[in-house]
Amino acid sequence: MALISMTVNGVQVSQEVDDSTLLIEFLREKLKLTGTHMGCDTTQCGCCVVHIDGVSAKSCTVLVGQAAGRSVTTIEGLAKGGELHPLQKAFREHHALQCGFCTPGQIMAGAELIATYPGELNEHVVREEMEGNLCRCTGYHNIVRAILAAGAEIRGTKITDPTLASHSVEG
């Protein structure tokens, strides 16, 4: 057991936990932040992605001790001052979620990608950089569009390919 302190979504938290506690267990079970999801045991699915000091990480493969003293942001803390993050809005606008289980991980991954990727975001980059997040519902088509749309909004760029600008091609 150890007393673990960290900042979660801007709030300082301290709890006595077992050393073998994973960050995701700490978030879900101790802090009741159940938006971060456990989808696999092998660091493959990405449902558990959070930001640690602004950097994306799969929280099922981080010990709570490894995150001690850091600043963790979860899906519950992404909206600022009651205003949804542009990517949250884009997910809704572009129908980038269906069941919603992988969605928190997708949004956290996408938000970090938009914030940190040094080059231009295009379909190829998004597909390559997001490969660590699985979705079983959407076939990824609309998630790609949501990330590109929010990326353009945040970075002040334009999406030139019309097939990438709308959520789907209407007949």
Partner: protein, 271 residues
Amino acid sequence: MYPFTYHRPKTIAEAQQAFSEGMDATFLSGGHTLLPTLKQRLAAPSDLIDVTGIPEMQGIEEAGGFLKIGAATTHDTVFASPIVRRLIPALSGLAGSIGDRHVRHRGTIGGSTANNDPSADYPSAVLGLGATVITDRREMASDDFFVGLYETAREPGEIVTRIDFPVPDIACYAKFRSPASRYSIVAVFVSKTGSAVRVAVTGAGASGVFRLPEFEEALSADFRPEAIAHLTVDPDMLLSDMSATAEYRADLIRVMARRAVEKPGQIQSFK
């Protein structure tokens, strides 16, 4: 996971002490191989010693003709480093091709090298560049360091602290990834320094990473793809599993080696 005690030493001496005090201690770096293993309850160490808080194990520098990378440096840091990009762009590219971006944010060069997973990328660069592995007690040539599947010449408690890469004239890397695991089923790292060429293969060997002397000889004489076009690889010593048979791996080694040499200075990832 089975219960264990977590330690986060600030110095190598503290790490050594924690190791000697633990019943069955093990070192933790990025944890992206170790923690999944523990979650599947395939190992039960008494103590996990996290080495990522030790300052001297961090950082990238150029010194004395070497590119020196602290063992606890993450894949993402290696990938993004301007020094690495300038000196050995293929190594930067290799780091940027490991796992996915979240994994690259956590996994480290030392962890990957010390674990010697047969499908990990880094061992091929360490061996393919003839790097020196620095530990808390000695220096080892890469040819002596990798011993077998998940096995290295490390002694119990020995900590890999840094890896020194000699800067080659040119290096290149080509890999083919499993459609399921996304690990390499074959990856070939080629480097050329003067007339010396090293060709190292990961993902495929039944005993882990290995070199291809025939390919090295041919490329030493003539560093062009045509020089190795006629060579084949014996499938006998290769892994065989659901995603790739030994014969497939053997053929892919040939193809990846050629493709690597076709684009010197670059990294190519196929899937």
